[in-house]
Structure formats: structure tokens, C-alpha cells
């Protein structure tokens, strides 16, 4: 069933990832080459950025782990008696690493973890996966193989006598492991002695052996138990450390291992950053920044986030989706050639071909822009390429500035909304971002209610928020924010002034309260309280309230100024990817629904009038498989083939009309029979039915109900 096809060696082309795949047209009117290169460089940039982020996020965790590993076998290093006495209890130091359900991301974490450990702790690290270790024997084999290989890597340069032992030949047991360990450590010992400890090696003389179980849950309990019991016997000869990768909860250790085994472990728990936080950081660094020219549209972002939240919690998959967006954007949008850093983009504008200029003129956002201009300008824009290019440069710059400002103001708004009760605009900045991209945020009800809530904030909160905003604006690259910062600072000083005043007022109020306490009789108390209430109702707003209103109004004005949705901006098509359907079709497909539609409503695909139908029925001229499928829906668990065949032939005969059965009816019958057989076996292939032995000439339905 396998066939290899090889092209003749002459024709074999050198492997190349050319731009030819990128656009079919060979002429370079649409800058395919350039687009391809831009896309590639952008993706590489983003990829390295994400890796960087991942590294930073894991740093804390890895530091903790490293210090744990150092601690765990420090006694072994010192060879103190304390060590031996502790080892009588035979506990293996174990790190339980809770990583979360996003299994797909774990690989990356483990890879960088083993790298870190290799650099810092010990060269002896083995990564084990459940699928490689169905039995204890395989586990030991894998373990020894990995350890001894790494050993060879380390000192293959120095030792020629170290014959690369094939793992099949040595008996895989813990004893051989210990022997190996002793020989290795002795060697390094003598080496270090020879070198008279001049070179301060990164590792100690007897580094621990670290065994990482990548997916602890999927290991067979038997294997794990055996391994733990056996190695705990030898812990005083072999400084072993285990690391369990756990996707669910730390409780799993105890449900997997009986008490007698788990008591051999000295477990310390480590919690990795949750993938949701990881995603927020990724969105923060990739999308909410002016650094990358490529942007995601609202729907696209929504879909990616939904896939993340509802399907896998996998940051890897999110990035994969992001990659798909980039590729699609650069492929489908010829103007994406301008989707690069502003400086380059300006240069590229100058060398745009006439075709590309026409493309720009066709952009809906640009058309809107043209329509808003005076008539002479309109003509110039539509006829003179050079003028067009000038304008485009200006517009691109506008767009860039818009992005810079957008991010800062968005963050500022988020500072306010994220602390409001019930989070009318969402807790996460990504939700706010989506809301702002979707339409004018200040026209939404949620914004209205959040403003109202903001008008009720207390002073200390307000002051801290303002301070945060000031910081955000200070650090932003936008040039327009000097005034804003000034204004905010002014607010802050006013608040401080208020505070001072309030201090004085407080004295007054205290005294008045004392006054109140003097009058003990009920009548007067009531009276004063009523007065107080009256005065409060009619009272003018306090200074603080006035100021608060002012602040909120100011924020509101910022929002209205800067958080205009992107698709109101001219030339947004260059930077934004908006084709959400592509993502949904390719990443989140529903194969069963496609089958269902094709079988129930073939007109969706075959545009023939004869197939057109209304409601849930199909015409009797539908393809055989559809008819057979429709008929089988009427059955219960078992289907009688004879009945089925007859029903089918009734339908088909009727469809073919009366003239068919006049002539060679027998012949026709055979053909119908054959068609039926084909349709039924197709249904079997699709998994709707299977042969049944329960009754002769029956098939069993595998789906339930009319679906």
C-alpha cells in the first residue's frame, strides 16, 4: 500500500522555500517576493519574541527548581554522617511540577528545563515519557541509554578508551547504573585532581542524577512503583532526584502511588505559571505593542481566544493560529508589502507599482478617505500616482501614531475598568481590546456603566490609578502625551491639596460631632439628623467629588480621542487581518457537520436545480448515498437490508420515471442493486453502519436518532 515516487535526479530541484508558492503570477507587480520575505522576517521576529517571553516566564520556576536540586543532595556532596543517617530513611528527593492541562505546551517547558539543569546542576539528566516506557525494563533501558549517551557526549573528546556501549548489550539494571555512576564520578574526580581544581567546574564532583517524568499521569502505576522502590534501595549509592510533570493536580501522586511507595519520596511542590497568564503576557507583548506592524482584527482575535479558552488552553496553539494569520494575511493581501516597520514602509511606498496604487485606490477605507476630501484633491488622488504615494506616507504615519497612542490609552483605561466591581468591560485587557476593536467603545452600555462606577471610586484608589496612568504615559513612546501627563499630575497635586484641606475639615467635623453627643435627647437628635440629610441632598458637590468628575471626564475624552476602532482608520487593511472564517475553517473544523450537510442537503454543494429543496427533506434525485442515508435514518438499531434495498429501488425507479422500467427491467434492477451496494458500503466506510451478526442480512446503525 505504500509507494515511493522519486523524481529523476536531473529534475530534482534543490530544496527551496521559494516565494513561488506565494503567488502564482510570475510578474512582480504585486511584490510577491518582497511580501514573502517580509512575512518570513516578521514571523521569525515574533517567534523569537515568544520564546523569549516563555523563557522569562519560566525563569522563576526554574530558579526555584535549581535551588531545590542543589539543596536536595548537598549532604551527599559533603559526605557527612548526617547524610547517611538521613538516607537510612531512603527518601528520594522529588519535585512535583504542576504544569496545567495544556499538555501541548509542556514539551517546550521541559526542553528548556533540561537545558537549564544541564547548565547548572548536572550533566546527567534523563527525560522519560510514558509512551516509551510500557514496562520497567523499557524504562531502565531508556534511562540508561540517555544517561550513558550524555556521558559520552561530555567526555568523548578526552577518553578514547570509552567505547560507546550499545545499550542493548549491557544488562539494564540499577546495579549497572550505579557502576556506571561510580566510574563516571571517579573519572571526573581524578580529572579534577589532575587539574588540581584549577578549573572551577560548573558541576560538583558528584552531581545528582535527575530523572524527569514528563507525563506522570500516563505512566503505568506498576512501572512507577517498581522504579521508585528499586531506586530507593540504592539511594545512598546514587544521588537520584525525580521530577514529576503533572498536568492535573498534585493529588494524583497519592492516588497513583500507594502510601508505602509515596512515603519513599520527599516531595516538594512547584507550580508553573498558569497558561492563562502566559497568554495574557503573549497578547501583551505581541499584540498590544507598536513594535510589530501586523495586527489581528477583532473577530480573528476573538476566535483565537475562544479556541484557547474553550478547547485546549494551549499557548502553542494560539501562536500557531497567529502564525496562520500572518501567512494568510501576507498571501491574500497584496498591499501587505507595506506591513512592515514605518521606515521601511515609507521607502516601499515610493517604489510601488501602478498596479499596487490601483489596489490601494480600491481599498474601502481609502475610498472613504477620498470621498471626504475636496474635489481637486480627489482627482489628484485618483489620477496621480506620485501624489497618492505622498498621501499614503502620511497616512501610514498616522496609522503608526494611532497604534502607539492606542496602546497607552487602552492600558490606562484598563487600569480604571479592571478594578470596578463586576468588571463591566472585562477583567482582562484582551477583553477591553476586543471591545475597542469591535466598535466605538464609548457608545456601548458597558462603557457607560463603567464610567458611572468610576465616578464612585474612593480617593485612594483614584490616586493610585492616576499614578499608574502617569507611569504608563511616561513610558509610552507616543509624543502627544506630554500634555496628558501634565494634566494627570495636576490632578494628583489637587488631590493632595484636598487631602490637606480635608485634614483640617476633619477637625471641624469632629468638634461638631462632639456637639452632637452633647444633645442626648431623641428629639434633637432626630432633628439634626434630618437637617443633615436635607443638607446633603441639596448640598453642592464637595471639592473631591468635583475633582473626581473632572478626572473621569478627562479619561473619557482620552478614550474618545484615541480608542477609535481600527477599521475606522484609513489604510487599516494593510495591517489588520480580518478574515475570521479562514481561521475557523482550518483550525476549528467540524468534519461531522460537513458530512451531515452533504448527506442531508446535497444542494449545498451540487448546485443543480433538481436537488433544490426546502425544509428538511431531500429530492428523490439526490445522489444515491444521500437517499440511502435518508432511508436509514428511519430505522432503529438494526436495519434489514432487504427492506432497505426495496425502499431504495422504489425511490430510484420513481426518480427515473416510467420509461425506464419498460425496457430491460432486469438489467436496470441489477444496476440499482449495484448502486445500492455501493452506497451501503460507502455508509459503512463513513461509520454510519456496521455489519451485524445478530440477525441475518441486517446491519447495525452506529448513530442514534435522526442524525
Amino acid at each position: 500500500g505504500c509507494f515511493v515516487f522519486k523524481p529523476s535526479p536531473k529534475k530534482r530541484r534543490v530544496s527551496q522555500k521559494t516565494a513561488n508558492d506565494f503567488g502564482e503570477k510570475k510578474d512582480d507587480s504585486e511584490d510577491t517576493e518582497l511580501r514573502f520575505l517580509t512575512c518570513q522576517s516578521l514571523w521569525n521576529e515574533i517567534k523569537s519574541e515568544t520564546e523569549q517571553i516563555q523563557e522569562n516566564l519560566n525563569k522563576q520556576l526554574f530558579d526555584n527548581l535549581v535551588s531545590f536540586l542543589r539543596r536536595s543532595h548537598s549532604e551527599f556532596q559533603e559526605k557527612t554522617t548526617e547524610w547517611t543517617c538521613r538516607m537510612k530513611s531512603r527518601e528520594i528527593p522529588t519535585a512535583a511540577l504542576v504544569l496545567g492541562v495544556n499538555v501541548t505546551d509542556h514539551d517546550l517547558t521541559f526542553r528548556s528545563l533540561s537545558e537549564v539543569l544541564q547548565n547548572n546542576i548536572s550533566p546527567y539528566i534523563a527525560l522519560l515519557e510514558a509512551k516509551d516506557c510500557p514496562g520497567i525494563k523499557n524504562l531502565m533501558q531508556k534511562l540508561l541509554g540517555q544517561l550513558m549517551n550524555c556521558d559520552i557526549d561530555v567526555d568523548s573528546l578526552e577518553d578514547e578508551d570509552c567505547v560507546p556501549v550499545s545499550q542493548n548489550r549491557i544488562r539494564c539494571s540499577v546495579t549497572s547504573l550505579i557502576n556506571w555512576y561510580e566510574s563516571v564520578t571517579k573519572k571526573t574526580d581524578s580529572e579534577t585532581l589532575r587539574k588540581k581544581r584549577t578549573s572551577s567546574s560548573k558541576h560538583w564532583q558528584s552531581p545528582p542524577v535527575v530523572v524527569i517524568f514528563k507525563d506522570m499521569e500516563s505512566f503505568t502505576t506498576k512501572v512507577l512503583q517498581d522504579f521508585i522502590v528499586i531506586s530507593s534501595q540504592h539511594i545512598h549509592e546514587l544521588p537520584l532526584v525525580l521530577i514529576f510533570g503533572i498536568a492535573t493536580s498534585p493529588m494524583i501522586i497519592h492516588s497513583l502511588l500507594p502510601h508505602s511507595v509515596s512515603s519513599l519520596l520527599c516531595i516538594e511542590l512547584f507550580q508553573s505559571l498558569s497558561s492563562k497568564e502566559h497568554l495574557s503576557t503573549i497578547i501583551d507583548k505581541l499584540l498590544l505593542t507598536a513594535q510589530f506592524p501586523f495586527k489581528l482584527g477583532e473577530k480573528v482575535l476573538q476566535i483565537l481566544i475562544n479556541i484557547f479558552l474553550y478547547h485546549d488552553f494551549s499557548v502553542q496553539n494560539f501562536i500557531k493560529g497567529f502564525q496562520l494569520c500572518i501567512v494568510e494575511h501576507f498571501y491574500s493581501q497584496p498591499l501587505s508589502v507595506l506591513c512592515c516597520q514605518l521606515v521601511d514602509a515609507k521607502k516601499r511606498v515610493n517604489s510601488l507599482s501602478h498596479n499596487q496604487c490601483e489596489n490601494i485606490r480600491r481599498l474601502p477605507s481609502f475610498r472613504r478617505y477620498v470621498e471626504s476630501q475636496v474635489s481637486e484633491k480627489q482627482i489628484a488622488l485618483l489620477t496621480r500616482d506620485s501624489y497618492l504615494k505622498e498621501v499614503i506616507q502620511k497616512l501610514l504615519e498616522d496609522l503608526h501614531v494611532y497604534h502607539e497612542n492606542y496602546v497607552s490609552v487602552l492600558r490606562c483605561l484598563h487600569v480604571f475598568t479592571s478594578s470596578l466591581p463586576k468588571y463591566p468591560l472585562g477583567k482582562q485587557i484582551r477583553e477591553l481590546h476586543c471591545a475597542c476593536l469591535e466598535n466605538r467603545v464609548w457608545e456601548t452600555e458597558e462603557y457607560e456603566s463603567s464610567l458611572q462606577l468610576a465616578r464612585m471610586l474612593n480617593k485612594s484608589d483614584l490616586v493610585t490609578m492616576l499614578q499608574q496612568c502617569v507611569e504608563i504615559f511616561m513610558s509610552s513612546s507616543g509624543k502627544e502625551f506630554d500634555k496628558t501627563v501634565e494634566k494627570l499630575k495636576e490632578f494628583l497635586t489637587q488631590f493632595q491639596k484636598l487631602e490637606a484641606e480635608a485634614f483640617q475639615e476633619q477637625d471641624v467635623s469632629v468638634s461638631s460631632q462632639k456637639e452632637l453627643q452633647k444633645k442626648t435627647d431623641l428629639y434633637h437628635l432626630q432633628k439634626t439628623l434630618l437637617e443633615l440629610k436635607e443638607s446633603r441632598r441639596s448640598k453642592k458637590l464637595t471639592k473631591f467629588e468635583m475633582l473626581r468628575f473632572e478626572v473621569v471626564d478627562y479619561i473619557d475624552s482620552l478614550v474618545r480621542n484615541y480608542l477609535v476602532p481600527a477599521d475606522h482608520k484609513t489604510l487599516h487593511e494593510i495591517a489588520y487581518f480580518n478574515t475570521a472564517s479562514v481561521l475557523r475553517e482550518h483550525l476549528n473544523a467540524a468534519p461531522r457537520i460537513a458530512l451531515h450537510t452533504a448527506l442531508n442537503n446535497p444542494y449545498c454543494y451540487l448546485k443543480n436545480q433538481a436537488l433544490k429543496s426546502d425544509g428538511g427533506s431531500i429530492s428523490n434525485k439526490a445522489p444515491d448515498i444521500c437517499i440511502v442515508y435518508k432511508l436509514h435514518l428511519e430505522c432503529g438499531r438494526l436495519i434489514n437490508l432487504v427492506d432497505w434495498l426495496e425502499a431504495f429501488s422504489t425511490v430510484v425507479m420513481a426518480a427515473e420515471g416510467p420509461n425506464a422500467d419498460a425496457a430491460s427491467s432486469d438489467q436496470v434492477d441489477d444496476i440499482i442493486h449495484a448502486r445500492f451496494i455501493r452506497a451501503v458500503s460507502e455508509l459503512e466506510l463513513l461509520g454510519f453502519i456496521k455489519p451485524s451478526k445478530q440477525k441475518t442480512d441486517h446491519v447495525a446503525r452506529l448513530t442514534w436518532g435522526a442524525c
Binding site: T104, R592, Y605, S619, G636, V642, D643, A647, T650
Partner: protein, 560 residues
Amino acid sequence: MSQPEGKGSGALQVKFVPDEEVLKHIADDAGIKVQKDKTQLTVSLKTFVKKLENISDDEAQEILEEKNYVAALGICAQDSMGNGSGVGGGEVYSFQTPKRSSKMAELASELAQTPGQSVAPNHSECPEKTAKTPQSSSNKKKEFVSTTPYRLRKRLAAPDPYLESESEYSASCSEEEDEDDQKEVSTVLSGRKTPAKTTAASTPPPRNTLAKKIKESKMSNLVEEYFEAHSSSKVLTSDRTLQKLQKRRLTQQTLHDLLKKAPLAYAAEIKELNQQHESLFSKWMRQLHWGFNILLYGLGSKRDLLEKFRTSVLQDSVHLVVNGYFPSITVRSILNSITEEVLEHIGTFRSPLDQLEFIIKRFKEDSSLELYVLIHNLDSQMLRGERSQQILAQLSSLPSIYLIASIDHINAPLMWDQAKLSLYNWLWYETTTFSPYVEETSYENSLLVQQSGSLALSSLTHVLRSLTLNARGIFRLLAQYQLGNKDNPSYPGLSFQDFYQQCREAFLVNSDLTLRAQLTEFRDHKLIRTKRGADGVEYLLIPVDDSTLTDFLEKEDEDV
């Protein structure tokens, strides 16, 4: 059970409710309806006799809800060209009551009656009218008796005052209905005792209220009915068999020839579909190069499409075609063809995992190596195992191996967990082609196709020829006995003791030990099968169908 509230806006709630509560719920509903007008009464009644009409209404409702759900997910219903994404999952996976087997015939006749135009399933049509279907009406009646009432009786048996009153009420209101309906009802339900059901198929009440009402009570019954239908081992279908049809079984060859004669329906439209898909070839190549793998799904054989892709795009590069539908394909053979033919490595491997490791190493070392892998039917019987998929997934995750595969089975995506999915890194493409699965089904042992008769025959004669004359005689005896019993459907086989007697009488064996030795030889060649009956007696059977056996005996006679 769930109760959709409001106008289908809320998502469905699922919770388990004890039976009593369900009954009470139904009763409550019914009670309220009794106090209301009679159209609603008939509605509630109607739910008990599941009618297709109602169900289609429900579907409409479900679609509505589905849309809401989809919108809520942020995946709006707006969609590109006619792919099926517009349909919600509820429609596909909905639980619905099993229908009577005769429904098939009814539907068939309906479809037949109105040629050319679509048929709204209208069930006020009476079965008499449909009696012109080839199925005999007596047969049909028998089925009616045997099927539906079982459930209904059971439900009615529940102590339920409301239902009582309801039935009385409906009995009176049935008088107002026209003659036709009366007649239909009485024929359909002739076997029943309960008069309550006689109004079941009354005039259709206003639709929009109907849908909701029905849904409510339908949903409450669903779970119960599912288990009812699946718990009873009784199968309620007709007993007819293909043999009585007096139609010879077609062989693979004749089937093939016949199908060639039959013109392919909608060839033009199918061609158009294919052209649409072919325009994606360059896109696929690009995405393959970006590290994605392509997965094709949708109704219809995708073999030709992939072949076309191969011939038009992959001519200049090394590629591997795997016919997953081939019944003896294994992962091992795929790996072997990579190591032996692509990497030109001579030597064997201890396990597929070793082999995989070797391949991965080679591809990582040599970045100029590139391989396109096309797998037809990645979900085939042989490749769908967990280990095979794991290996294939790991292969496909190599940056210089480009995988493009197709799946057909409805449950194919269940093969993969998150880890495998991320290794595969799929981009899904819907390529509905509507082309017949010619190659894919040709290996399948279809029920209706004569079981590879020629092969069995030749192997039989071949094996027998190498045996002694006595042994041949023994086998002959067994075959003759089996043919003599071919009309007995519950023929268990020939018991060992009887067989021994017969053999002795024919002077073929002299002790039961020799017979046993002979039988062991037969069994080793898979000529016979032994089976222990309920009484502990050993029965012998030749696992070959009767026609082959007849052919065999005839041939033997010729030889002798």
C-alpha cells in the same frame, strides 16, 4: 432532561431527574393542556406518537438555538461558500426517538410519489396510499403491531389521572376530524388497545407553539427512550433475507462492471466542486512549507483529488503515497518504505520506535532531505490505532516531512488527543467531492457482495488435493451434511459424535482418535471451525458459504 425556556435563547441545561419526576412533569404538562384549548391538547398527545413532521419542526428550533450558541461563542454564523459550518452541532448529534422500521418504506414511497420536486414529510398520508411500495402490506401491519406500542403501553400504564382524562377528551375531539384521518389512524394502530392514541395524527395545530411544546416533552423522554431502545435485546425488524429475494449475490467483478454502466449522477457539478478544490493546491503547498500539515475531510472520495495534487504539484519532489484503505497496510510498512527507499538504508530495526528514531535523526542531520507524504484514509482500520497514530504524528512533526492526508469516518477526529493534534499541526480543509469511494470500498468485505468466493474455492481444492483420500472423504461428508441443512437457519453444525458415526459407517475412520487427528489438520488449515453448543457438545462447521461449497462438491465430483 432539559427545559428550554424563552424563545430558544438559553443554552440547554442538562440534569438528571428521577423517573417519577419526569412522569410528573409530563403529567403536569398534560394537565395544563387539558384545561386549555384542544389544539394544544392534541399537541401533547402528538408527542407520544413521534411524527416526522414534529421532528422537522424541532430541528428548526434547534437550528435557531444553535445559532445563538454559535453567536455566543463569538463565531458568528456568517460564512463563506456552501460549507456545512452553518449547521450547529445539536442538529448532528441530537438524540431523537427511534422510529418504526416501516417508516423507511413510507419515506421511500413519499420520495417516489413526487418525482422531481422536494417532499415535505407529510404524515397525514395514510399507509394504504403507500401500499404500492413493493413491500407487502401484511408485512407492514405486522411490524406496526410489534413496534411502537411497546413503549407507549408502558408509559400509559403509569398511574396518571391526567392522561386518563386527556385520552377521553381526545377521543371525543377526534370525531371532528375528517374521514381520511380516521381511517389512517385506525389502520396504523389496529393492534392497539388504547383509544387515547387514536387521535395521534390529528390536524396540525399552529406551528410555532407546537414546536416549543413538543420540544419540552420530547426532551424529557429522550434519555429514557434511548435506554429503552438499547436495553431490549428484541429487534423489531422484518425477517426477510436476501436469499428469499431470489437475487444472486453479485461478485466484486460484476458489481464493478455494473457500476461502470451506471452513469455518474451530477458529473458536471462534481467536476465544478473538484475544480474549486484544485485551485487550492498552491495554497496547500505554501502552508505545508510553513510547517502545517493538511487534512482533508468531507463527503466523497478524496483519492482523485490527492492524485491530482500529486501529479500536478509534486512531480519534482520525493513523495510517498500511502493507501491507508489497503487492508494490510501497517505503520511498519510505511516506515520501511521511508528508510529503505527514501533514505536508502539497508538493515532492519528492532522496533518501529527505533526505526522512527533513525528517521528523525537522518532528517535532522540532512536538511536537504525533503519528503512529501500523502496518506489516503488516515483513519482506516489499520492505521487508526493509538500507536500508529503516535508514530505518524511524530513523523509529521518533522519540519522537512510534509504530510497531507484525508479522513472519512465520522468519528475520525476522536483518534487524536491534544498531544497528537499539536504534533500533527493540522490545517483542516473541507473538500466535499461527492465522488464515489471506488477504491476505498473495494477492499471492504461488503455484506452484499459475494464473499471472495473464487479465492475460497481455490484454496479449498488446493488444500484438499494434498490430503489423503480418506481425509477428502471425511471433508466431503461434512460438506454434504452441511449442504443438506442449508435451509435450516439455526443449523448449529454437525456434532462430533454423529460425525464419527457417519465416518465409521463409510469406512473412513476406525477410531475416534484418528478422526480427531484428521480434524485437527482441517482446523489448522482453517477448513473447519468447531463450536461448543449449549449442551457442551462439539459442533463442526465449514466456514464457507453454501454456494462455494456446492461449487466445490461439483468440482470434486468431476475430478472423481
